[in-house]
Subunit: 284 residues, 2 copies
């Protein structure tokens, strides 16, 4: 089988590494908007051969789309126009409703599988690619009833090869939930980073006082804006609701601080310690 990867960054590059080492495919061809990324992907043997979009659509049995979600939304309908019925297209975007809607009435909709692997790091580009990035992680597949049996079977075979656990849900359900457990964390982290960097302008050397707790909380503020701005824009409705609730809860905490209500702060924290139960399943 020949795999074609569109976007040789962290996700595309990591897919290439694992699919190659597990012998899932005989050849990996690829392309990227950045010519330097393509060159690095070629030099580091992530891809066997750089191709044009036309060549990729002609040759690849399985097409993996790992580019920002705004570009994905535009590209998938164009891809479905060009492929034959025996080819399968899978996208890996962090939003699903907009992308699914873009192909809703497409005659080749059934060749497409809408997926979101819950895996990644705050780093980007082909040099950030990691073998086993997906191992033991969850992959969410949306609108699986709209994909053909052939396409879905191939996608599931690949996710199994990547050692992922597949969950199914609607695109709306995905976007509503992911707003809380992924997108909101990124905003919380970016805005915390912004707040502290602004203070640093007046208070030099403040970061000598920052420790591992601060580092953990703002780690996601290192993430790539080219990837995240389109995600936030596509999931703005659900995300705005989640962010609104977060702001309300922070305001409540500020009220506890301003009235020096230590008991209420204590109770909130003690209840929230229940997060240990959740994190046990995520942290390694």
């Amino acid at each position: 089988m020949k795999v074609g990867i569109i976007g040789t960054g962290l996700i595309g590059g990591s897919l290439a590494k694992t699919l190659r080492s597990s012998k899932f495919c005989s050849e990996i061809i690829g392309m990227d908007a950045s010519t330097s990324h393509v060159q690095i992907a070629l030099d580091s043997k992530l891809i066997d051969r750089p191709v044009t979009l036309e060549e990729l659509c002609q040759e690849a049995d399985l097409i993996l789309v790992t580019i920002p979600v705004n570009a994905t939304k535009e590209l998938i309908p164009a891809l479905l126009n060009q492929i034959s019925g025996t080819q399968t297209v899978i996208d890996f975007g962090s939003t699903k409703a907009g992308i699914c809607e873009a192909v809703d009435n497409h005659k080749n909709r059934s060749s497409f599988v809408a997926a979101h692997p819950i895996a990644g790091t705050e780093n980007t580009g082909p040099t950030a690619a990691i073998d086993n990035l997906f191992s033991d992680k969850v992959c969410i597949v949306c609108e699986e009833e709209r994909s053909s049996d052939t396409a879905l079977k191939l996608a599931k075979k690949m996710f199994k090869n990547l050692q992922m656990r597949v969950l199914y849900m609607s695109a709306e359900e995905h976007d509503r939930h992911i707003a809380y457990v992924s997108h909101l964390s990124h905003i919380s982290s970016f805005v915390l980073g912004k707040t502290v960097l602004e203070i640093e302008k007046d208070e030099k050397n403040i970061f000598n006082m920052a420790g591992s707790g601060f580092a953990s909380t703002v780690r996601l503020a290192k993430s790539n804006p080219h990837m995240w701005a389109p995600i936030f824009a596509q999931n703005s409705a659900y995300l705005s609701k989640a962010l609104g609730t977060y702001i309300e809860n922070l305001q409540e905490f500020k009220n506890f601080l301003d009235s020096n209500d230590e008991k209420k702060m204590f109770d909130l924290m003690e209840t929230t310690n229940d997060i240990r139960r959740v994190l046990k399943g995520i942290e390694k």
Copy 2:
């Protein structure tokens, strides 16, 4: 030299481990409000012998106070009442102004060194104690001009033994800065945890969709409320200001979301990526 540790939790226990393995002292005596903590500290050889407060004040050359900041503020004046001029007391609390103020006019003020090591984990109790917790970390010493040469020299010798780098600043300066780079991170993390746990009540299985990014951002929500509620209460003025700025910045981001202003979200994130410069010095 005989060291007395008041509070055999994460910080006290980790101090004991390192000071013992580096042969800084000949004996470590200790006490804790929790009898089970004392027993664990004894069984795991963190301390050689459990003592009463009276015995500790009579015997220890160096007294290390590693208990919540509200208890510290009450205890330090009482300790200074009981010790002789040749003994030294060091506290390790995360707030400094309230504690320094409590001993400001004490006749034995010069036997006291106010310190805050930028080291810790989200875990608590003697079982969380780690050797080398303090290695290569910063220790902030406040009002060093109020400590005697003897007390300061001994404190510096110990911090050197722990392989810490010492920074000096006023207690007010410490509390103002630490509000941003430590205390605010804890609130951001606790309230994010609360927000998502509340959603979970209606949306079962939502945490199947959470990944390492979420885990990193809410890690601090595992922290001990007995330690953190008093910290927030003692630093409420500076912390309320920092939290107010954070809320304003989040509200600004929400406005970008609601007006779907992808460009402004992008610019904010791109500017904030500068946090990489800061984190390079902190992350290991």
